[in-house]
């Protein structure tokens, strides 16, 4: 479903050139659960941005669901992302002024989905993630794991093909982390592709396939299941 061919990414700071990614080749199939594992500075963030269509590679080809996305302009990429990619970050990055319900609803508002449809979909997901009693709460009144659950709900409300999760348990304790990874697992079992980027070996071990990232290169791939 996602095919990266010789992807490279360079950043220039003044006269200094920094090679963040070098000749990345990758193939992620529909329904895969892939974890990208590597230390800080290994190039994970650059890879998240490029695979998540948030940034352009300096060179190479990126094919998403059979379609090249490298030459798309910003607006085309935005439209392409909508409904296809869900995002999850270490900090839940919820909108503080919106309630749980409104945060989850937000992507549907941007997609101009009808209010009645939105309500139906949001309530269903809230119920699935056991957040019904919190639906009118503001983010400041939630626990860390609740916030992350809301972020997951917001990511899956659009029924994406893939969820890109960047350190999804980075700010949770181990028990909370397990709960979140279980949810991601359930989502994957329903057919959604999951790509988790982490520096934690235990988190990486939850995927079907581990890709090790080091110094901007994919150094090893290992099938776990």
């Amino acid at each position: 479903m996602i095919q990266a061919v010789d992807i490279s990414k360079e950043y220039r700071t003044g006269n200094v050139m920094h090679q963040a990614l070098s000749n990345i080749n990758l193939n992620v199939e529909r329904g895969d659960y892939v974890t990208f594992y590597g230390p800080s500075g290994s190039g994970k963030s650059s890879l998240v941005n490029i695979l998540g269509l948030l940034d352009y590679p300096s060179s190479g080809e990126l094919i998403f669901d059979g379609q090249s996305v490298v030459n798309m302009n910003e607006r085309q990429r935005l439209m392409y992302r909508r409904g296809r990619i869900g995002y999850l970050f270490s900090s839940s990055r919820l909108v503080e002024e919106l309630t749980v319900y409104e945060n989850i609803e937000l992507p549907l508002v941007y997609q101009k989905i009808k209010k009645t449809d939105r309500k139906q979909r949001v309530l269903k997901i809230i119920s699935e993630l056991n957040l019904t009693h919190r639906k009118n709460y503001f983010p400041k009144d939630l626990t860390g794991v609740e916030k992350q659950k809301v972020a997951i709900a917001r990511a899956i409300i659009i029924e994406p093909l893939v969820i890109i999760a960047d350190e999804p348990t980075g700010k949770l304790n181990s028990a909370e982390g397990v709960e979140i990874l279980d949810i991601l697992n359930r989502i994957n079992e329903n057919g959604t592709t999951i790509m988790v980027f982490t520096h934690s070996e235990s988190v990486a071990a939850k995927g079907q396939k581990i890709v090790q990232v080091f110094d901007g290169h994919l150094v090893r791939e290992k099938m776990l299941k």
Partner: protein, 816 residues
């Protein structure tokens, strides 16, 4: 040394964030420039007449009274008043009476000029009004009836490099004077301006053919108001009441004396006359009497401009604060590192304050440069003589410097307090936390700027709308292509011959003459008439006019016609206007009699032969008052010629022809003319000046509001950056984000506009109340202005934020 180090850092920071810093400093310097200029202007206005060393003790006496059923307040007083006050009240230490000779032809050898500011005054004039004397002996000035003192400007105009003292000048009324002194020009901020001050005694020479007794009687006559009286007194407590009590007897005796004369009631229907005092320091801003020496200003303008200047300064400081705070979020790491390196809260606080004060002093420097550059244009535009670097302004400089320091402190205080209090761990983890509450306060302040900008734009357009209305208003006569030639008496008293010759010129359609120029204030006169309740007195405006006056001005009649030519010394027919007909309550006035009553002189009956339609014979700001038109006695020359030029004729050519005619028939007197349209436009000069000032303020306030909205939108963008990032990641388009941003900013702008509209409406109405006739800016135009400002604000937010919002993509989008 610490301060120097902080100043150095402030300057480096200015260069590092130069685009923000430049806008920041320019915004503040504009606020300071406006404050400096307005301060100079206000200072000039409130210091009127204070250059006289004894100004606190100088008072003008004015007259208040009732004639017929009309109450009046006038700046002119009777001739004997000045001496009476000096001789009968111990509190009065000096007094002077002055009289203005209007439009005098002054000649020295072959030089002849028409002069407007020729005054006659008592010997005490230069003791009370101590204008610096450049030549002559102050103690002996104006003692002889031939003495005249001239100003420096007049000395240069007539005598160039020659010694002016001892030179003889002549007036067209036959008086001759010898220059005994040269004084400095009257400062601009004086409520009257003299060019010549001649001895008051010289006026006695004009009473030709009268006996000494008759002259003395005229000079001791209390019922004619034509002198300006000033007194010096250190103690006014109870003085006004004493004057009122004592003079009531004098006036009553005089009224009784003339009422008892056989020829009828010549006391002019005077019911009461009293005299009151006004401090000369108050005249310019508080006095609006009839017969003012020069038109005065209004306190409301000073208050308005001071309030605006203060507001502009406050809002520019707020913008400065907003931008500083928004920019500080870009310096988050610097602040964190400084704290880690051991910089205490106090040190950081001091650094932010010093930075803000440094910026505000740079802004002060720019403001001073800008003021110096703008002042010449400002002075030209508003006919002022404001300067920054004169001696009297030193205190202003101190004031402006203190104010700048204060602005710097206040502007720097918020960022200094809010940024110095963060702990380094919070800074590194979360960045600077810009609170929602703070956004509401800043939004309210931005809304305040929008209120001012919208208010000024509406005020400007409202003023413009009314001025256009007044300029286009049907005056009741045709003012186009009418030439007014003053000093018509120079052509002699045989006006019919002058008229015949002028009318024979190709291009002249009508010629007439009058005593008082159309468009200028016309005096009031007592008239007596019979009503159902018996004989009544009334004050009416009057003018002596030649019989083709209304025809030349193209004023229509509603009944009757002009008087016919007569062989008698004076026609006993008069024409009234529709307003007079109404004031006299005469449904059928033709053939009815009214008497012209000049206290102590005349009581002549006239027959009404025509009723003209109403027309604006006085300035357009005035209501159309009742008017009586009558003919001058034969052999008396009219003051002003009015000549209607054909629309097809070339004005330049006509001026040349009439000028030649004038020179040929006046022994080479200078030919000066004005077009009636220009005279009428001059009446709106003050309104145009205020309009230009408000317009200037509106432009500046729009600029300041632009800075304000920009600063506020920067603040909101910075504050919501993280939120916008995530919204973009989850699918929001630029348009959707911009919409959300604009809703955040726009709610404050809209509130500002909604508040500004009723305020503008109210203030505009206050201004309009000064006009007898006005046209109010329609409400939908005010709403449209509000919408335009809202639209402009949207464009500002759009242009400013789109670049920032676009940059929220890419590598910054996702944290590691």
């Amino acid at each position: 040394m610490r301060v120097l180090k902080d100043i150095k850092i402030a300057i480096r920071s200015l260069f590092r964030f130069r685009s923000d810093a430049i806008i920041n400093v320019i915004g503040l310097s504009i606020g300071i420039t406006i404050s400096i200029i307005v301060l100079l202007y206000v200072r000039n206005e409130i210091n009127y007449d204070q250059h006289f060393s004894n100004s606190k003790n100088i008072y003008r006496v004015y007259t208040e009274g009732v004639i017929g059923d009309n109450y009046f307040k006038s700046a002119v007083t009777p001739n004997p008043l000045s001496d009476y006050l000096l001789n009968n009240f111990d509190e009065v230490t000096q007094s002077v009476k002055i009289v203005r000779g209007i439009n005098k032809l002054v000649s020295y050898q072959d030089k002849k000029f028409n002069e407007d500011n020729f005054y006659y005054a008592d010997t005490s004039f230069f003791n009370i009004f101590d204008i610096p004397l450049l030549k002559g002996d102050r103690s002996s000035l104006l003692k002889s009836d031939e003495d005249v003192v001239i100003t420096r400007r007049i000395a240069n105009k007539y005598f160039g490099n020659e010694e002016p003292i001892g030179k003889q000048i002549k007036l067209d009324n036959g008086l001759e004077f010898v220059v005994k002194g040269v004084c400095d020009d009257f400062p601009d901020n004086t409520h009257f301006h003299c060019d010549f001050i001649a001895s008051h005694k010289s006026i006695d020479k004009l009473y030709k053919g009268k006996t000494e007794q008759e002259i003395n009687e005229l000079k001791s006559y209390w019922l004619q108001l034509d002198r300006y009286t000033y007194i010096v007194t250190a103690d006014t407590t109870g003085l006004t009441q004493k004057i009122a009590d004592q003079l009531a007897v004098v006036i009553q005796n005089q009224v009784s004396k003339y009422q008892n004369l056989e020829e009828g009631n010549v006391s002019g229907g005077i019911k009461s006359i009293g005299f009151k005092l006004q401090a000369i320091e108050d005249i310019h801003l508080k006095s609006n009497l009839e017969n003012e020496l020069e038109s005065n200003s209004k306190r409301i303008y000073v208050v308005l401009f001071m309030t605006l200047a203060l507001f502009v300064l406050v809002v520019t400081s707020i913008n400065f604060m907003n931008l500083t705070t928004a920019r500080a979020s870009k310096r988050v790491l610097e602040i964190g590192v400084r704290k880690l390196a051991g910089e205490g809260r106090h040190d950081l606080f001091i650094q932010f304050i010093i930075e803000a004060v440094t910026y505000s002093f740079i802004a002060l420097f720019l403001g001073l440069v800008l003021s110096e550059l703008l002042l010449p244009g400002f002075n030209r535009l508003f006919n002022l003589e404001l300067r920054i670097n004169n001696l009297e302004s030193r205190i202003d400089f101190l004031y402006v410097t203190s104010l700048t320091l204060l602005v710097g402190l206040i502007s720097g205080l918020y960022p200094a307090i809010s940024f110095s209090r963060y702990r380094e761990v919070v800074i590194f983890k979360k960045g600077l936390l810009l609170g929602k509450k703070s956004m509401v306060i800043r939004g309210a302040l931005a809304a305040g700027q929008v209120v001012v900008a919208t208010f000024l734009v509406i005020l400007t357009l409202g003023m413009f709308w009314n001025l256009k209305y007044l300029e286009r208003k049907d005056l009741g006569f045709n003012s186009h292509n009418v030439m007014v030639v003053e000093r018509g008496h120079a052509l002699g008293s045989d006006f019919s011959s002058v008229k015949k010759q002028l009318k024979s010129m190709h291009g002249i359609t009508d010629v007439s003459a009058c005593k008082y120029i159309v468009g200028k204030e016309v005096p009031l006169q007592s008239f007596k008439y019979m009503s159902r309740g018996g004989e009544k007195m009334i004050l009416l405006s009057y003018n002596f006019v030649e019989k083709d006056f209304l025809k030349t001005l193209q004023v229509n009649f509603s009944a009757g016609d002009m008087w016919d030519a007569t062989n008698e010394k004076m026609s006993r027919d008069i024409v009234i206007t529709a307003a007079t007909k109404q004031a006299l309550n005469m449904p059928k006035p033709l053939g009815k009699k009214i008497n012209f009553v000049d206290a102590g002189k005349w009581d002549y009956g006239f027959s009404i032969v025509g009723v003209s339609k109403d027309f604006h014979f006085e300035p357009i700001q005035y209501p159309i008052r009742p008017l009586v038109l009558m003919e001058l006695p034969k052999g008396t020359a009219y003051e002003n010629l009015i000549i209607r030029i054909s629309d097809k004729a070339s004005l330049d050519e006509m001026v040349r022809e009439i000028s030649s005619f004038w020179k040929a028939n006046t022994n080479g007197e200078p030919f000066e003319y004005k077009m009636l349209d220009d005279i009428l436009n001059e009446n709106l000069k003050e309104e145009h000046t205020v309009f230009k000032m408000v317009f200037l303020f509106a432009i500046l306030s729009l600029f300041v509001a632009w800075l304000g909205i920009r600063a506020f939108s920067t603040y909101v963008t910075e504050m919501k950056m993280s939120e916008f990032q995530i919204k973009k990641i989850i699918g929001a388009t630029h348009v959707q984000i911009l919409y959300e941003l604009f809703v955040e900013v726009g709610q404050f702008i809209l509130t500002g506009i909604i508040i500004a509209i009723p305020i503008s409406f109210f203030v505009l109405q206050l201004w309009l109340n000064g006009f007898a006739y006005y046209s109010r800016l329609p409400w939908f135009v005010m709403v449209a202005i509000g919408l335009v400002i809202f639209g402009l604000a949207f464009i500002i937010v759009l242009l400013h934020s789109i670049k920032t919002l676009k940059s929220t993509h890419g590598e910054n989008a996702v944290e590691v």
